[in-house]
Each structure stands twice: as C-alpha cells, then as structure tokens.
C-alpha cells in the first residue's frame, strides 16, 4: 500500500469519497498525478451521478476498493496539457467517461473497442498503469490520457452533456451496432431512467419510432409529451402487451433488476433484436423456442469505445440532445444517491462541482 492518498501524487485534489460499504460519501483530500506528456488536466465543472456509482460505493459487485471517489460522467475545462498532446489545448471543454486506460495492443483496442479490452482501466476504483488506484469525477480536478478524453463542442451545455459520457454512449452504441437506427424502424425502450430517457432522444433523432415500455403508468405523459416517444406500453398490462406483439424491430432494455425476457421477446417482429444494457446480478431465463420461432436475437452491450463516444457527443450536439438533469450541490450527494436508489429523479443528478465542491479550510 504505502502512501496516503494525499501524498501519492504531486497535485492536491479534493473530492467526496465513500470509505466503507455503507456507501456514505464525505469530503476527501487526495492527490492527482503530474500532467504526463500525453495527459490532459482539467478543472471539473460537473459530474453526473450514474446508477453504477451507487452499486460501487456499496461494493455490490464485490470489487470496490475503498476509499472510492465515484463519478464517470465528468466534464470541465482544460488547464494544462502534456508536451505530446495534440488534440486539446488549455481552455477547451472536455469530458471523461467510464475508462481512463486500456492495453492498446489487443484485438478489441485495435478496432477502437477499448471498452471490451480485457485490461481496460475504469475511471474509478481500478488500478492504473502506475499502480495507483483511480479516483473519479466527484472531485475538483481530473488528469487523463488524451486518448480517453472527448471534446465537448462549443455551444453545448456542460452540465446536461455530462450524463451522455456514460448513459449516452451506453444506449447510442447498441442502437448503431445492432442496426436499430434506420429511419422508419420501431424500437422499444424498456425502463425510463437515466439510460432510458436518453435512448428515447437518440432513437428519435435517428428517425426511429419509439415505444417506451415501463411498469409505471405515471411516466406516460412525460414520455410522450416531454421526451418525444411515439407511444407508451405498460408492461404489466396483459392486453396492451398482447396487442403490441410482433411489432418491434428492436428493444433496448435498460432495466437492471431481474425481469422476465419472454414478454419482451414476444414484442419483437421476426428477426428482431433485444439488447440488454443493464446487467442483473442473477441469470435470466431465455426461452429458446421464442428465439427460434422468429429467428430473434438477445444481445448485450457495454458503453462504447472512445472513437464512438466522440461520435456520440458530436451527434448529440448536432441534434440538441442533452440529458434531463437535476443539478445538485456537493453536500446533497448522499441524499441524491438515496433518491436515485428509489428512482426518484428526472432523470440524472449532476453535481455542480465547480461551484460547490470546495475544500473547507
């Protein structure tokens, strides 16, 4: 182990961290590495709160290293660049998502799929190349290799763009990869939370007809009037589900709780595709018969590579797509996480880091 977080690196940093499985966050002094020749250092202005942060602070996936500074939807303004950095300069608006490193030599890295690299380094609670543990964006500054930094185009709001760095790419990538982005197609979005609401916006921008599939009838008017969905299906309503069978080219399923897949497979047309982007912790049951009888597919997807993440940010800027957010001060973060656990947010909390995450003297 060795050094205390404050002494590990030469730059002082301040953030909020969880120290144990209670997941309660509190102020935390630590440090960031010196700006290496390929590094970009930026002052963090905002950071989105992703559901993964909630799982990780409580060690629900069993791999958390404490103390943990979460946050992988990070945006800010560049303050320093290394000598070999070519893509960014001081003053640029930038973002960092879920990854800060990869091996650059495997088959996945070779085709811009750093997200599937077996040695991918996550933005927080992972071991970096220098052996130190990574700390995420609930903090005042970030240092990241330029390969893992994206440009936020001028004219796009930093706060509402931050969630795209995880939620956005997580739904954009499978819409493209599984070919659910053709005008005129009909795509279902299961779950209307951080991921789901952005999926509706991206799909609509791609010219796709969108049906939101949800257990909560109360979300219907928002889904249609505010988010632009074409229709809304209450998954617990047998009649509605029956009437919609065989009508969808694809479904993006953002729900991470355990849930039955068969009714969703039934909604697909022949050759339809069900794509899962949430990962329930127990295996799900797949009725082989319903896949066979329509040559249907169930596939998975996890964030996206760096090239595609930049493409997604540019697409969002062009189509004025931003997340619907609730901006909060740093000291509200624990309350926000409790509300998130109850899905009480429309649809992403974003921490106003620049104005409220300051080290108390």
């Amino acid at each position: 182990m060795g050094q205390a977080p404050e002494q590990e690196h030469p730059k002082n940093a301040f953030g909020w961290a969880a120290k144990d499985t209670s997941g309660v966050l509190s102020p935390f002094h630590f440090s960031r590495r010196a700006t290496g020749e390929k590094d970009v250092t930026f002052k963090v202005t905002h950071c989105g709160i992703c559901h993964s942060d909630l799982h990780m602070i409580k060690n629900e996936w069993g791999n958390t290293i404490y103390p943990i500074v979460p946050g992988h939807e990070i945006v800010g303004v560049v303050t320093e660049v290394g000598s070999k950095v070519s893509k960014f300069k001081v003053g640029d608006k930038v973002g960092v998502g879920c990854m800060v490193g990869s091996c650059h030599s495997c088959d996945s890295c070779a085709i811009d799929l750093e997200n599937y690299c077996p040695k991918v380094i996550m933005t927080y609670a992972n071991k970096y190349h220098d052996g130190t543990i990574t700390y995420g964006g609930y903090s005042d500054i970030m240092v990241a290799d330029e390969h893992f930094v994206v440009r936020i185009p001028e004219g796009t709001p930093l706060d509402a763009t931050a969630p795209l760095l995880c939620a956005g790419i997580t739904v954009y990538s499978p819409l493209r990869f599984y070919g659910l982005d053709k005008p005129g197609m009909h795509v279902g979005v299961v779950g209307l939370g951080g991921l789901g609401h952005v999926a509706v916006k991206f799909a609509k921008a791609m010219g796709v007809k969108v049906t939101v599939i949800s257990t909560s009838p109360s979300k219907k008017s928002e889904a249609i009037e505010r988010l632009g969905a074409d229709s809304f299906l209450v998954s617990r309503d047998q009649d509605e589900m029956q009437a919609a069978m065989g009508t969808m080219d694809g479904i993006i399923d953002t729900v991470s709780a355990v849930h039955p897949l068969m009714p969703l497979i039934g909604l697909l047309k022949s050759q339809g595709k069900l794509v899962l982007v949430g990962a329930p912790e127990k295996p799900l049951e797949l009725p082989a018969f319903s896949l066979l009888m329509g040559r249907k597919i169930v596939g998975g997807s996890m964030i996206g590579g760096m090239k595609e993440t930049q493409e997604m940010i540019d697409f969002a800027a062009k189509h004025n797509i931003r997340a619907d957010i609730e901006v909060i001060p740093a000291d509200y973060v624990n309350t926000a996480l409790e509300r998130l656990a109850k899905a009480d947010v429309r649809y992403r909390f974003v921490i106003d880091v620049a104005n409220t995450m300051k080290s108390t003297p």
């Binding site: 599937y116 797949l286 082989a288 009888m293 597919i297």
Partner: protein, 333 residues
C-alpha cells in the same frame, strides 16, 4: 402401420414415391407428445427423398422420374412478409410436413410412408451426385445448421466455430463448417466421441465441456457457436468460450428455458440468436452446396419394421449419426 388416402395430385402438386426418410429427433419428441401438440395418429418423417411419379398440370419444375426431396414444410401463406422474403419457415401460418392441418382441413402425414403429395414450391430437386439415403437428413438437419451459419455470418474462412453437441445436427455442422473454411471445435460432454470427431468428421479440435480446466483454457477463443443440444443446459460455459462480438446460435428445442448470465452478454457484446430450419430457396441452395462439397450425413439404414428400435436407440443417442429408413426396400403391406 396406418392406411390412409392422399389427396389427388392437384395442379401444382408433385406425387412422390418415397425411397428414404431420415429419423429426426423431432420425430421422437412429436411421437411421444413431448411438446404437448401432437394430434394422434401421426406419421412422422420430414427428411424425405424419393422419385416423382406424377405431376399436376401447372408443375414446371419437375417431371416423372426426377429425384426429389421434401423437408419440414409443405405449405405456407405466400402473402406475409416472411413468405415474400423466401422465409416460409417463419410464416406464422406455415404447415408442417406432419402433424399439421393442411389448407383443405385434413391432417398432414410425413415420410415414414410410401408416398407423399406436395405443392411443387415445397419440393427440392435432389442433386445428381448426392446419395439419396445419406442426403435425406440434410433436408432437416442440414438446413437447420446451414441457415444460421449463413444468416449470422459464420462463413469467414479462418474464423473459429464451436459446435455444441455431436448428433444428427452437430455432425453435419462440422462438415459444413469445414467446407466454409472455418476452424471447427466440437464441444461435447462425451470424451469417447473425440477420435471420430477429428479423424472421421474432420473437426480441428474437441473440447470436453465437463472438464473445467479445458473449458477455461478455451475461453474467449471462438467467433461463433452453433448449439445443437436440445437438453436443458446453462449457456454460461458456452458464452464464455466466445470472443468479444461472439455469437451463439441455438437450434435445439429444450422444453425448459435456458439460463443466461446477462453479464456474459453485456461484458463482451455477445449475442444469443435462434434459428429454425430455412426457407425453400435456401434449402435448395444448401443441397447444392453440400453436393458440391461432397457433404452428406453419416447414417445407419433401417427397415420400416425396425423403426421403434431405432427410435429407442435415438433416445439414448446411440447412433452415428442419423437413422434413415430404407422405405423403398421395406415391405409395407
């Protein structure tokens, strides 16, 4: 033995004297009502090969004496989107070769019999150089693996295909996979199948799926897997064998759902797909492809009066790798 009358040869129909019929595992499931849909009495058999004895007035594709085949379908609606795309096998109103109700309201009877009358659209031309007996199983087993291999893009030479299960479907998948230029690994619970898989069928490797160390060593090495196993099994170990973007296609029909750990899909962008036989055009394409590459099934010929014994042995997987009924030489009266 059941005696029954077939309809007269209609204008679009082809009457076929049956010479051979393969015994498919589906025949077993259906005969024993394991899927709960059997409407007794049934005459199974949907891997049928024979000679044309009569054709209707509108029939242009076939003439008396032609060697032909009939597979799993004998009719479909011809109007829906699937039929329009040559995917009669996904038509919601498709009519199966046996145990289905035909358009005239009568029941369809399959190939464990001496003759069959079928609309020309659903009759396949049997390639000249294909042996009739060993070619019969291709009409179900062959198309069942060929179709997903084409649809899911499992045809890039040099890529690595896993074939799970080495029975009627699996052994044909190995041969077709090799013809596509793929590296083929057989994945099986039975170590004693290994030497045949490699020396007789041409597989490149054999993985005993019940050996955890061997399975671990093979993780992340396959581009695709065709899963022919119809017993209930977890997909977790098979999914782990796939590379990133890998595809597992299931063609077996287990009667209970399969367990899938979702992170195995999400963490490596893998997919699980289904496939069910193939359309008529593709079935003909498959037969021609197999003829060109000298692919036929490995069979054990039985007479009609030996069917029950054959089916019992099939239930115990005691066959290398398909029984075929020598209908032509069996006494049926």
């Amino acid at each position: 033995m059941v005696g029954y009358r077939f309809p007269e040869t209609g204008a679009d129909d082809v009457t076929i004297k049956i010479l051979f019929c393969g015994i498919c595992h589906s025949d077993l499931h259906c005969a024993r009502n394991e899927w709960g849909v059997t409407n007794y009495p049934i005459v199974p058999g949907h891997e049928i090969v024979g000679t044309v004895t009569k054709v209707g007035n509108n029939v242009s594709k076939f003439k008396e004496g032609d060697k032909v085949g009939v597979g799993v379908l004998v009719a479909s609606c011809q109007k829906c989107e699937s039929c329009q795309q040559g995917l009669e096998n996904y038509c919601p109103n498709m009519i199966l070769t046996y145990n289905s109700i035909d358009r005239d309201g009568t029941k369809t009877y399959g190939g464990y019999s001496d003759l069959i009358v079928v609309d020309q659209h659903y009759v396949l031309r049997f390639p000249d150089n294909m042996p009739l007996d060993a070619g019969a199983p291709l009409l179900c087993a062959g198309i069942t693996v060929y179709s997903p291999m084409k649809y899911y893009g499992m045809t890039e030479p040099g890529k690595h295909l896993g074939v799970a299960g080495l029975g009627g479907l699996g052994h044909v998948a190995v041969k077709i996979g090799k013809a596509f230029g793929l590296k083929v690994t057989v994945i099986s619970t039975s170590p004693k199948k290994e030497s045949e898989a490699i020396s007789k069928l041409g597989a490149d490797a054999f993985l005993v799926s019940s050996d955890p160390a061997k399975v671990k060593a093979a993780m992340g090495t396959m581009d695709y897997i065709i899963d022919t196993v119809s017993a209930v099994h977890s997909l977790a170990p098979l999914l782990g064998l796939l590379k990133v973007n890998g595809k597992l296609v299931t063609v077996g029909l287990p009667e209970k759902p399969l367990e899938v750990p979702i992170f195995a899909l999400v963490g490596a962008r893998r997919l699980v797909g289904g496939s069910n036989i193939g359309g008529m055009k593709e079935t003909q394409e498959m037969l021609d492809f197999c003829a060109k590459h000298n692919i036929a099934a490995d069979i054990e010929l039985v007479r009609m009066d030996q069917i029950n014994t054959a089916i019992e042995r099939l239930a115990k997987s005691d066959v290398k790798y398909r029984f075929v009924i020598d209908v032509g030489n069996s006494k049926l009266q």
